[in-house]
């Protein structure tokens, strides 16, 4: 497959006329088309981020302010952070956030290390049973996680890790899909580079660290971003594993919060924003790597 944006010059507003005539005539944007495109883009933008803005606005509306107006008002008349304080005072939202962070860091670390080691070995090293190992990883993709979630819980419970954050993190710490993604990324390296390194006396570990890793950074960042988002957002698994409210992760805690404050949308709104804003910041900061990594994976896939 090729890329998300394989030719930056394809439609480049700053391109010189010469370049433009070389790129494809039908692909240049007429002013009218430009207007239509931007109108559509803004329309979709409203649909996709409108609900978040609405929730943000609700969370900032003062207690004296009527949030049930017939004409919905986006800008708070009496903006206040009081509901954020109230939520953090009543429910240990910040502890939940820390719990989520602990789980997410374990999952990200485990996947980066475990998946790149295994991916490298399966794609770059010869050993007996290599095909079988690869087949095993492929086979698990067919199985939706929810199917095994109960017996996973039984396994974690037998390890004595029920109701612990480690128990929440452990099963996701090396994902089969991530191993396959790394396998794919490493496979794209030319074999000659490896052979040259072997001639120079590099062992497997050196080839992994000095040749393999630097060239798969894009895929690693995609794995890291997805692992983080996945762990931070997950709901069903921590809901099953955790019984002690002190150990709740943010999503489970939020659901608990919505039960407690079901009559106060402002507080729930503040709680959801506390869970939402960090992940958006993480994603907005890393989106460059994300889109680039998707591209890299796509080129090589």
């Amino acid at each position: 497959m090729t890329t998300v944006q394989d030719a930056p010059q394809r439609v480049d507003a700053t391109a010189t006329p010469v370049r433009r005539s070389r790129s494809f005539g039908f692909n240049t944007v007429s002013p009218r088309e430009k207007v239509v495109r931007y109108v559509l883009l803004v329309f979709v933008l409203l649909i996709t981020i409108g609900p978040f803005l609405w929730q943000l606005s609700t969370s900032l509306k003062g207690s004296g302010e009527d949030i049930y107006t017939r004409i919905p008002r986006l800008l708070p008349a009496q903006p206040t952070f009081a509901h954020y304080k109230e939520v953090t005072d009543t429910i240990p939202v910040l502890d939940y956030a820390r719990n989520s962070l602990v789980v997410a860091v374990l999952v990200v670390g485990g996947n980066i290390i475990g998946a790149s080691l295994a991916g490298f070995a399966i794609s770059r090293l010869q050993f007996r049973g290599r095909k079988i190992v690869l087949g095993l990883f492929l086979a698990t993709l067919v199985l939706p996680g929810e199917v095994t979630i109960i017996s996973q819980y039984v396994t974690v419970r037998e390890f004595g890790l029920a109701n612990t954050l480690l128990g929440v993190a452990l099963p996701g710490m090396i994902g089969a899909l991530n191993v396959l993604l790394m396998y794919n990324a490493f496979r794209a390296l030319p074999l000659e580079v490896d052979q040259a390194a072997i001639v120079d006396g590099a062992n497997a570990w050196q080839r992994f660290v000095y040749i393999g890793l630097p060239s798969v950074r894009g895929t690693i960042s995609v794995i890291a971003i997805f692992a983080f988002i996945g762990a931070w957002d997950d709901f069903l698994w921590p809901l099953i594993v955790l019984t002690d409210p002190n150990k709740y992760t943010l999503t489970v805690g939020l659901q608990y919060l919505s039960g407690t404050f079901s009559n106060n949308p402002r507080l729930i709104a503040a709680g959801t924003m506390i869970a939402f804003i960090p992940i958006v910041i993480v994603f907005a900061t890393l989106q460059r790597f994300f889109f680039k990594g998707v591209e890299e994976g796509a080129v090589k896939g």
């Binding site: 050993f127 109960i150 062992n203 069903l236 989106q287």
Partner: protein
């Protein structure tokens, strides 16, 4: 020349392999074993033979859950195969600020389903955004019970899933679109084909494989739905539990004194067979595509 020692690859593979065996393969086998027991969330259980499967046959809750799943899948499929493709075509062209739009369209994917469902709960509330607007416009006289009516609740959850999924499938299509030969587009344009014709006769055939893959992803994830229905229904599965999904039932049996991990495992096996169906269909479609 130094070569690998025989065990080097294994040292690298063993952590991942251990995880695979302990958290994927063994649990799949153990699900089958557990389904013949009445194991409890706390403490053990014992062998009960086929009892769980007999109970399944007469389980009204399961029947509703399966019906909901099928409706979920049938409604999600057309929307989520077509709309994200249109979105991908819209954001494919590099206009100034396009990265911002791409990122923004992806935001609902990044947000937790719990966060999203809580936001929508407020939007769909009797006094929320949608009812407020509709009343203001005089479309309805009283609030529509989006969150308490069996079918409206299901429909609300489905809309939420579609809304949340748009950006995800958009990215997959975006990667696939780069694959559609530009020469074909150019040739069609030179021959005077309109953008619509080019979309129908160049773009769509070009992403056919991706469309099949996406359909399968949509079907499987529609059958696995949990958070949206759970949160929108306040964990209760709608009136009389008729808005449960199969995964919600599994979760319910996973806890408390009423819990029954054996029965939850039997439900998991049902879920497995239900999700295998769309995958088999995909395999067929793919093969036919290759022959054609």
């Amino acid at each position: 020349m130094r070569t690998n020692r025989w065990f080097t690859p294994w040292v690298l593979v063993i952590p991942a392999l251990t995880w695979l065996l302990v958290f994927n393969l063994w649990p799949s086998i153990n699900t089958v074993i557990l389904s013949f027991t009445n194991a409890r969330p706390i403490g053990g259980g014992h062998f009960v033979g086929l009892k769980n499967f007999e109970t399944l046959l007469h389980d009204d809750q399961l029947r509703w859950a399966l019906l909901n799943s099928v409706i979920y899948m049938v409604v999600c499929l057309p929307f989520l195969t077509v709309l994200p493709l249109l979105l991908a075509v819209l954001v494919e062209k590099k206009l100034p600020g396009i990265t911002f739009f791409r990122t923004a369209f992806y935001t609902p994917v990044v947000a937790s389903a719990v966060v999203v469902a809580l936001i929508w709960q407020w939007i769909l509330d009797d006094r929320g955004l949608v009812n407020g607007l509709a009343e203001k416009l005089g479309v309805i006289s009283g609030p529509l019970p989006f969150l308490s009516d069996q079918w409206l609740l299901l429909l609300s959850a489905i809309s939420l899933t579609i809304w949340k999924g748009l950006g995800y499938y958009m990215i997959i299509y975006l990667a696939a679109l780069g694959n559609v030969g530009r020469e074909l587009h150019e040739a069609a344009a030179v021959d005077g084909a309109s953008p619509l014709r080019r979309f129908l006769h160049v773009t769509i055939p070009g992403v056919r494989g991706t469309m099949i893959l996406i359909s399968i992803l949509i079907s499987v994830s529609a059958l696995r739905v949990f958070s949206e229905l759970f949160i929108l229904s306040g964990g209760k599965g709608g009136p009389g539990g008729r808005d449960n999904s199969v995964v919600m039932l599994i979760q319910q049996y996973s806890q408390g004194f009423e819990g029954n991990l054996g029965y939850a495992s039997a439900l998991s096996i049902v879920l497995f067979f239900v999700t295998v169906v769309p995958m088999l269909v995909l395999a067929r479609l793919n093969r036919r595509g290759a022959e054609a």
